[in-house]
């Protein structure tokens, strides 16, 4: 039976915890709004890019000298998985669900006899994957100093990935991130970025003239396309992280409240018990006289 003083201390510390989780929830809510706005304003670019790229892809896939970013190396032996997670924890299952998805894919690929390489973005994913797949890690990109992800950060990651592709380090690249559905629902997603895939490659409905040639435009645009996809993924991830943190902190705050209620009841009971005990002692002492 904990003493009254112990109980009081515990109530105090749970109250402090509740204050912290409440504050974190509100910070996450504010950040979420900003992250959503960022994701929103990046959409027109990504959509337009995708439209033109898929038009170009439809007409140039057959060409003999089609760029390798589009058609691939002709083999799929070596896979590069770019796992994007958050830099910080305390956001529910956000990080682990991305890592879980990546882990399933890694084991699948290994079973099929492929070579797997892992590039991590974000500290949390690296920590979790290092335990099982330390020898597969080929690099890590640290964004912990970055306050607000910009296109240049995405460009940096894309350049790193494409450099590796150019020297033949891998054949297929896939990014893992979490798509933002709503505050309570984030969906881990795997998306192949190299070779580029398009949902529905359709040729242009208008006949365009091209300057320089179609092939050269394609070669010029593909790296931009990769960077754009990574940028979109980073933004989705940012919004998802804040959403996940917000709902995790919301339930933490509620749990702390429940705990305080329970502890308060226990505290009151013990106090009553102590008073009753003292009364009994006084009364029986008086009777003995």
């Amino acid at each position: 039976m904990p003493s009254l003083k112990d109980l009081k201390n515990r109530i105090g510390s749970v109250k402090n915890t509740r204050k912290i989780t409440k504050a974190m929830q509100m910070v996450a809510a504010a950040k979420l709004r900003r992250a959503q706005e960022a994701a929103e304003s990046a959409r027109p670019y990504a959509e337009q890019m995708q439209k033109v790229m898929s038009g170009l892809a439809a007409s140039s896939t057959g060409a003999a000298n089609a760029p390798r970013l589009l058609v691939g190396t002709g083999s799929d032996k070596v896979h590069l998985l770019v796992v994007m997670t958050a830099e910080r924890g305390l956001c529910g299952a956000f990080n682990s669900s991305i890592v879980r998805m990546a882990r399933v894919r890694i084991n699948d690929l290994i079973r099929q006899g492929k070579t797997v390489k892992i590039l991590t973005v974000g500290r949390k994913g690296r920590e979790q994957l290092k335990r099982d797949f330390n020898e597969l890690m080929v690099g890590h990109i640290d964004l912990s100093e970055v306050k607000r992800v910009g296109y240049d950060d995405a460009r940096g990651i894309a350049d790193d990935v494409m450099e590796r592709f150019k020297v033949g380090e891998f054949d297929v690249a896939t990014i893992f991130f979490s798509r933002f559905r709503s505050v309570i629902s984030q969906e881990p997603t795997a998306q192949q970025i190299i070779p580029a895939v398009f949902d529905a490659p359709e040729a242009f409905s208008t006949i365009y003239s091209f300057e320089p040639t179609e092939g050269e435009i394609m070669a010029e645009l593909l790296p931009h396309g990769v960077a754009t996809q990574i940028f979109a993924a980073l933004l989705e991830n940012g919004a998802s992280e804040q959403g996940a943190r917000m709902s995790a902190m919301d339930s933490a705050t509620r749990n702390a409240g429940d705990m305080i209620d329970r502890l308060t009841i226990e505290y009151n009971r013990s106090r009553q018990a102590a008073i009753t005990k003292e009364l009994i002692e006084i009364i029986s002492g008086a009777e003995a006289l």
Binding site: A38, S41, A42, P44, Y45, A46, Q48, M49, V52, G150, Y151, A154, R155, T206, I207, Y208, S209, F210, E211, P212, E216, I217, E220, L221, H224, A227, T228, F231
Partner: protein, 136 residues
Amino acid sequence: MADTLQFDLVAPERRVASERALQVVIPGFEGDLTAMPKHAPMITTLRPGVLEVFTEKGSQKYIVTGGFAEITSDSATVLAERSHAVEEVTKEMIEEMIAAARAAHLEAKAELVDASAKMLADMVAMGSRMGFEPKN
């Protein structure tokens, strides 16, 4: 009212401009070109340079680097990796871009030397058109 076309200038992080325009001067890969209503549909990549859009209210200049433009008979959409209204541009920004282009040029591999030299020259030209003479 004169004929106008829908002009959109989009950067990865935001939509920089979206308005009805009389004509748009775009720094295309092979030289400046002017998009006006009923222009033949075309797609071109951009070289770093100054883009100027004329609306009924006047004209506005933007600097753009890297990306492409899609022109149809009633619209001009420019996707630029970097894009700023000229008023927002500082000498430091231009110098930083030129320095980056110069660094890329110095370490460029054989087949890319020409391309990066052109990029550097375009950057410098863009800077001097803005009135910032680069120090060498």
